[in-house]
């Protein structure tokens, strides 16, 4: 593990990911999975859509840019309390400052309507949560790999 981290350090700058997930278990699993490919501080979490927008707009308690850096990509759950993923997505994509941030839908849903609607709203990918941890690790690695190495981000 140490080695991985060291190797990553040698790259320019690791990708910054913001996860919006209300479920504590899922949050834990996602973080654990990302730990395999990213330093801990490069993955931050919020628990719902409302917190996500506060974070992005740097409204308290998310006004500390050091503690809460601007993400390169967002991993968004669809079913969340207060403001759900669809609303949050719509809001991000209608905000001039935020709409350039790629949003990856990461949900238990595989509903065709959800997929169609979120792509229409401007999401970049739609991923259904896998059932095993191994698959989850594979997915997080792919995300990290794709968004930090394969593609170029606005930064």
């Amino acid at each position: 593990m140490y080695n991985t981290e060291f190797m990553l350090m040698s790259f320019e700058k690791p990708i910054q990911i913001l996860v919006a997930e209300d479920d504590e278990d899922d949050k834990l699993l996602i973080l654990k999975a990302f730990e395999r490919s990213l330093p801990k501080e490069n993955v931050t979490c919020v628990e719902d859509g409302e917190a996500l927008l506060k974070y992005l707009k740097r409204i308290a308690p998310y006004d500390d840019l050091k503690k809460y850096p601007r993400p390169d990509i967002i991993l968004l759950d669809l079913n969340m309390p207060r403001k759900d993923g669809r609303e949050a997505l719509a809001e991000i994509k209608s905000n001039d400052d935020l709409k350039s941030i790629p949003v990856i839908i990461f949900s238990t849903s595989n509903n065709k309507d959800d997929i169609r609607i979120t792509y229409k709203l401007g999401s970049s990918s739609f991923i259904t949560k896998p059932s095993s941890f191994e698959e989850l690790v594979k997915i997080t690695e792919e995300i990290e790999n794709y968004w930090s190495k394969t593609v170029l981000l606005p930064g």
């Binding site: 278990d25 899922d26 699993l29 654990k32 238990t108 949560k129 896998p130 059932s131 095993s132 941890f133 191994e134 989850l136």
Partner: protein, 491 residues
């Protein structure tokens, strides 16, 4: 559509309607006949009245003429007497006039009584008597004119003759009068009877017509009321049926929704069980001692199986959902050969021989029929006898009406295809023929044969949603036959 009101109404109602309709028809015909008869009788009666009026007028005419004739005879007697006594010629003028009058009246009477023989005889008699009398008078006058008196003329022995002559005339006139009076009375009575009968006849017929009219009206009213009642009952039942269909639809949707949501939501914690088991296994398997590792693997295996069950349940809840765009004529032969091509490897693995004969075209969704036959064939391959090469034959024939009649779900007025999937596998005990189609029902242990027991349940749901039935026949060790009945495509 099948008859949804098998028991109530139809027959009973039809009978009631028939009776009252027939009644109304009969009443109407009777009324019409009565009116025609009434009109006929009235017309006839008025004809009779007309006839008797003429007859009565004729007899009164005869009576009047007779009395006029008698008056003229009397006048003649008076005139001749006057002339004899006074020799005044003026009496003679009157006398001749009376003669002319009498002749004229006699001719008229003869004409009026043309149809009455008795009166003709009487009048002829009267005429003869008058003529005899007139001859005597004429002789008397002649004598008077020649001699100025009747001194030599009157024969005292013959005076009686003159009296008798006059009496005879009077008697004849009276007889004529009597006959004519009798006739008058008779005709007059008939006339009065007819006149009286007319209002009676018209009145009776009117009463009959009005009565029957009222009865008819009442029958029609009753018929209408009965029909209204029946219609109301029908619409009430239809409403009830619609409500029930609606309820059924709702509860079906709810059930599907329930199955979907339940299986969907069940996957959530399951996913975590699997994920955390994985994590535990990965990071702490070295720390787990003894049976700890086995328990962990048991947890993982159970979670995997549960996931399979949930996925199957989800699949089952979605199966057979009729999506109109997907319903079209499906060539079963093509669907099955395409499907078999995809499974060529597992078929070759088992050295199975699968024969697909000519199969019909049926209505439904291609993917769903593919699923049905895939389930049946994999079932047959799975339950093949260990030392035999599996042989599967799929063929089709037209189902006999007896077979169709055995299933209350089928419409006996339609034609059905009977599609058979027969194998030479291990078969099953007869008593399980129904159970194998229930969801998650298995006849064998999980270790012997894998699977959750969903395939046949899904197949049945699909076939039933397409208006068919599926049933199995077998006896242990003798292979199994899966029979599918599906309706002919209606043109």
């Amino acid at each position: 559509m099948r008859n949804i009101f098998p028991k109530w109404g139809k027959f009973k109602m039809k009978d009631e309607h028939k009776t009252s309709l027939r009644q109304v028809k009969i009443y109407s015909i009777v009324t019409l006949v009565l009116i025609i008869i009434g009109s006929g009788v009235s017309y006839w009666t008025s004809g009779r009245i007309d006839y008797f009026t003429k007859e009565v007028m004729q007899t009164s005419d005869v009576l009047q003429r007779t009395s006029e004739l008698y008056a003229s005879i009397l006048e003649r007697e008076t005139n001749i007497r006057g002339y004899v006594i006074t020799s005044n010629d003026e009496f003679l003028t009157h006398y001749y006039q009376s003669n002319i009058d009498a002749d004229l009246l006699l001719a008229q009477l003869q004409e009026l009584t043309e149809d009455n023989g008795q009166q003709q005889n009487n009048i002829a008699e009267l005429k003869a008597l008058i003529d005899t009398r007139v001859r005597v008078f004429d002789a008397t006058i002649k004598h008077m004119q020649q001699h100025g008196d009747l001194v030599d003329f009157i024969d005292p022995s013959k005076v009686n003759n003159a009296l008798i002559g006059y009496s005879l005339i009077k008697a004849t006139v009276l007889r004529i009068n009597e006959v004519e009076n009798a006739l008058f009375r008779e005709k007059n009575n008939s006339l009065i009877n007819n006149i009286n009968a007319l209002p009676l006849i018209v009145g009776l017929i009117s009463i009959f017509s009005i009565t029957i009219g009222l009865v008819t009206f009442f029958s029609i009213y009753q018929y209408n009321r009965a029909q209204k009642g029946a219609n109301m009952e029908i619409s009430r039942y239809q409403q009830k049926l619609r409500d029930q269909i609606h309820l059924l639809d709702d509860s079906n949707k709810e059930l599907e929704q329930f199955a979907y949501v339940a299986s969907h939501d069940l996957q959530e914690p399951l996913r975590k069980i699997t994920a955390f088991s994985d994590l535990l296994n990965e990071q702490y398997s070295s720390i787990l001692e003894g049976e700890g590792e086995i328990y962990l693997s048991r947890i993982t295996a159970a979670a995997v199986r549960m996931r399979l069950l949930i996925t199957n349940l989800l699949e089952y809840s979605r199966a057979g959902r009729i999506v109109d765009e997907q319903v079209k004529p499906v060539k079963l032969s093509k669907v099955i050969t395409d499907m078999l091509e995809d499974f060529e490897i597992s078929i070759q693995d088992k050295s199975a021989k699968i024969t697909v004969e000519t199969l019909p075209e049926v209505k439904g969704s291609e993917t769903e029929y593919r699923q049905v036959f895939q389930n049946l064939i994999s079932n047959s391959l799975k339950f093949s006898k260990p030392d035999f090469h599996p042989e599967i034959i799929i063929n089709s024939e037209t189902a006999s009406p007896e077979l169709v009649g055995r299933f209350s779900m089928l419409n006996p007025t339609l034609s059905y295809h009977l599609i058979k999937v027969s194998d030479n596998g291990i078969g099953f005990e007869k008593q399980y023929a129904d159970r194998i189609f229930s969801i998650f029902q298995r006849l064998h242990g999980k270790k012997e044969y894998e699977g959750t027991g969903i395939g046949l349940a899904i197949s049945r749901k699909i076939i039933e949603k397409n208006g068919g039935v599926i049933f199995a026949e077998s006896s242990a060790g003798n292979g199994a036959i899966f029979n599918i009945l599906l309706p002919f495509i209606s043109i």
